[in-house]
């Protein structure tokens, strides 16, 4: 059987880095082929070469057994290769149909006018083939991320794509949306479309992938059938060694001091009367579906967003937090889920990012910065957290996701925060580095810090948390002990409606 696409011995270098060496991939028609590897393994580079975004330095690409040159995204489209990027490329103020056919709109009146009716009809036809109920005239702005993704897929299909590349398509989707996506993938498969699927989530692969190709350090490691290869085997192929799953030890914190206490927190419909407390040395996990309001709670506590009402206490004393600087002064640090936008100045070097929250401490008379002391501080954390960087002058954007996350952690450790709120601490971080982050969080808790971990991955919550707070639709629906089962958490995470307010403190309806 000829492969639909065969990429052979692909080579690619960027200035100073060899990104791909002897990389291979063969994709059959009608299969979902998962491409796996740690961050920096070369998956995205490989797919960008297939999609015509990068040019390869060596090797060959065969389409239906015939060698092809793909030098631009346009050429890739003409050959029937579509890519759905992790970050969607849609114009929010145009409709779904307008987005799909941008640049090749049907015309009428000798090409002078746009044929809006045809446009919408064409789009509707593609939606129908996907069994997607969506009005082509809806503005992208008003769609959920999941729906926007569907529009991207429809757009790719409108080019009669036979090859579809999906880069972490479920990163921003909730379970129901993931099911819908997978249903569409199944239909595409049945029609003979070959799908390359990049993801970090192991459970997804088991559900939809037929075969898995693993890459490491820009090289091809192997291709295995998805169904009968144990997850451990795939992980060890990815990291080059076997990982042992650690069970969390569940220390009893009942007698430790309460460090942070939050009471009757409210913010519009996003946060409704949330209250909880975290003790010294404790890791409190926050579970819930996408949009449950966990990030909103974190940002409100931190002063990043305004809150309608609610009191925050540190060591029993009420603190007035209106801006992030108030929170930091009180000893609370927040590590955003979106490091690139909210956590790091990626154009600056490691040193300056590590000291960013403590820069005043390094300023002498006249505001003169003591670079030597900054270097010492940065180097100390580079050693302590095993941050992989050539030096503390390396620009942060050139480092991997795991190392970037460690830099954000270093920033807050240097600031000496007692309470650390981690929002999706391992998002976009590969398996090996995840383990390191977990160990780090445990170590921080043992040192006596109070830690809050927000995570959408249940295994992560279960693995880390000493107690688990579950939210649904802006409410705290319950707090479970660390050993809770996934079913218990899911039950609380889907507990909708007014009657669901089962806080560990009496609910007050008149909090405002």
């Amino acid at each position: 059987m000829t492969a639909l696409v065969a990429m052979k011995d692909i080579e690619k270098s960027f200035p100073g880095v060899r990104a791909l060496h002897n990389a291979q991939l063969d994709l059959r028609a009608g299969e979902v082929h998962a491409l796996m590897g740690e961050n920096g393994a070369g998956k995205s580079t490989m797919m960008k070469i297939l999609a015509g975004i990068y040019r390869r330095d060596g090797g060959e690409i065969l389409l239906d057994g015939k060698p092809v040159e793909i030098n631009s995204p346009r050429q890739a489209q003409d050959l029937g290769i579509g890519i759905i990027h992790q970050e969607l490329n849609l114009m929010p103020h145009l409709t779904a149909a307008q987005n799909m056919f941008i640049g090749r709109e049907p015309r009428k009146a000798a090409g002078l006018l746009l044929d809006e009716a045809r446009l919408n009809a064409d789009a509707a036809e593609i939606f129908a083939s996907m069994h997607l109920k969506l009005d082509p005239r809806t503005l992208i702005d008003g769609l959920t991320i999941a729906r926007q993704q569907m529009v991207e897929i429809a757009k790719a299909l409108s080019y009669r794509s036979r090859v579809l590349i999906m880069d972490e398509p479920t990163a921003a989707l909730n379970d129901a949306e993931i099911n819908e996506l997978f249903a569409i993938i199944a239909r595409l498969k049945a029609e003979g479309v070959g799908i390359v699927y990049i993801s970090h989530k192991m459970d997804e692969l088991k559900r939809i992938a037929d075969r898995v190709t693993v890459m490491r350090d820009g090289e091809y490691i192997g291709t295995v059938p998805a169904a009968d290869t144990p997850v451990e085997k795939i992980i060890s192929m990815m990291v080059g060694r076997a990982l042992t799953e650690e069970r969390p030890d569940l220390p009893d914190h009942a007698n430790s001091d309460v460090v942070l206490k939050v009471k009757n927190l409210n913010r519009g419909a996003a946060i409704r009367n949330v209250g909880f407390s975290v003790r010294k040395g404790e890791i409190l996990g926050f579970a819930g579906l996408m949009g449950a309001g966990r990030t909103e709670v974190a940002r409100a506590i931190f002063g990043a967003d305004r809150r309608d009402s609610g009191d925050i206490f540190m060591h029993g004393r009420k603190v007035d937090i209106r801006m992030p600087q108030d929170a930091v002064r009180a000893g609370i640090g927040y590590l955003s889920e979106d490091r690139k936008h909210f956590g790091l100045a990626t154009g600056m070097d490691v040193r300056n990012n590590v000291v960013l929250a403590s820069l005043r401490r390094f300023a002498g008379p006249g505001g003169l910065l003591r670079e030597a002391a900054m270097h010492d501080a940065a180097s100390r954390y580079i050693d302590q957290l095993a941050i992989k960087t050539p030096s503390d002058r390396q620009e942060v954007r050139l480092l991997s996701g795991g190392n970037q996350q460690k830099i954000v952690i270093a920033k807050w450790l240097l600031r000496d925060c007692e309470v650390l709120i981690f929002d999706e601490p391992t998002r976009g971080i590969d398996v090996g580095a995840k383990n390191e982050i977990y160990k780090l969080l445990n170590a921080l808790a043992r040192q006596g810090r109070a830690i809050i971990v927000i995570s959408s991955e249940l295994p992560e919550v279960l693995r880390l948390s000493h107690r688990i707070a579950v939210m649904c639709e802006g409410r705290l629906t319950g707090i479970l002990p660390g050993g809770a089962s996934q079913e218990e958490i899911m039950h609380l995470a889907t507990l909708r409606g007014e009657g669901a307010n089962q806080n560990n403190q009496p609910a007050k309806g008149d909090a405002k």
């Binding site: 990043a304 154009g347 820069l359 005043r360 505001g367 030597a372």
Partner: protein
């Protein structure tokens, strides 16, 4: 340790705009070569001093603009602020008859006050920098005319005033080097600002704000205050420019000023500072300002009509930014 301390000064901006700055510097040298081959008058000491003198005002304004642009903002008010500060100096020295030092101080303080106001509009009221400084540009232009009664204010009562720009401290020590004070002040402002940008906490936050303001805010930094401080510093530098230009003309000309901001921004851009913020250097801006005045001077010596000079300057801006884009694309 000494190695890291010494790399400190070439931190943030240089790594990125280094290549661009080299290119800008090479273009400057090339221009000088071409003009000196084309005309024997070009390399005369008197002409070189004229070029430097002509650069001093735009150079100082461009340094002010560089600060704001590195934060990711833009300052359209530098030109009319310069005039406003000159008028304030005129009020203090000529109308009130106070000693020279008070006039200098008043001009710089007026600049700082106006910068603080612009900075407050941008940081606190969240008005986009383009609009806030556009408003300030017009406000200051009007105020200069109102305060001066639309007439130039002459500094005949303050004999030392012309010395600020036209005297030559260096020349009085080394008669062979009659470099005017205006040029000396330009270089002193450049060195001081460069030092602030590369070595102090204010400078570091200037880059950090331009690099990712939200990340800085979420690090618990009072970003509003630092941003206002940057605008205030830029404003006080405009005050210095006001002193330079009025000293050279021995008068504060209230109708002058508008249009200077574009030359200043042009110098910043040619010098490799990114308009999207986070990167830039003072030395680059200085080279950019020199390129503009060398062009103007050289074309004049070659008797090219003045109308054409702006055409050339405009083309240079587009070329400079395009080469930067080309270089970046290769990365």
């Amino acid at each position: 340790m000494s190695a890291t301390a010494s790399t400190g000064i070439v931190s943030m901006g240089s790594k990125f705009s280094g290549a661009h700055r080299l290119l800008a510097f090479a273009s400057l040298i090339a221009l000088i070569l071409v003009f000196s081959l084309a005309s024997p008058n070009f390399m005369q000491t008197s002409n070189i001093i004229a070029i430097l003198q002509a650069t001093s005002v735009n150079g100082v304004l461009a340094i002010a603009a560089t600060l704001v642009i590195i934060t990711g903002g833009i300052d359209l008010s530098v030109g009319t602020l310069m005039t406003f500060c000159a008028v304030i100096a005129g009020v203090v020295l000529t109308f009130w008859g106070m000693p020279l030092g008070f006039g200098v101080l008043a001009a710089i303080l007026a600049g700082a006050a106006s910068g603080t106001l612009s900075g407050t509009f941008v940081a606190k009221l969240k008005i986009p920098p383009f609009i806030a400084t556009l408003g300030m540009m017009l406000i200051l232009k009007g105020l200069s005319l109102v305060i001066s009664g639309t007439r130039p204010i002459y500094f005949n009562g303050t004999p030392g005033f012309t010395q600020i720009s036209q005297g030559s401290l260096i020349g009085s020590v080394f008669p062979a080097l009659p470099i005017p004070n205006g040029v000396l002040i330009l270089f002193l402002v450049a060195i001081a600002t460069s030092f602030i940008l590369e070595r102090t906490i204010l400078g570091r936050f200037t880059f950090a704000l331009g690099s990712n303001e939200e990340a800085v805010r979420l690090s618990g930094v009072n970003t509003d205050r630092w941003k206002i401080a940057v605008y205030a510093l830029a404003g006080s530098i405009c005050g210095i420019a006001g002193l330079l230009i009025s000293s050279r003309l021995n008068s504060a000309q209230p109708a002058l000023g508008q249009g200077y901001e574009l030359d200043a921004i042009a110098a910043v851009v040619i010098g490799g500072t990114s308009l999207s913020g986070g990167r830039g250097t003072i030395i680059g801006t200085l080279i950019g300002a020199l390129i503009i005045s060398v062009l103007a001077n050289g074309l004049r010596i070659l008797s090219v009509a003045q109308e054409w000079q702006t055409v050339v300057t405009g083309s240079i801006i587009i070329l400079a930014v395009y080469t930067d884009i080309l270089r970046r694309r290769r990365l």
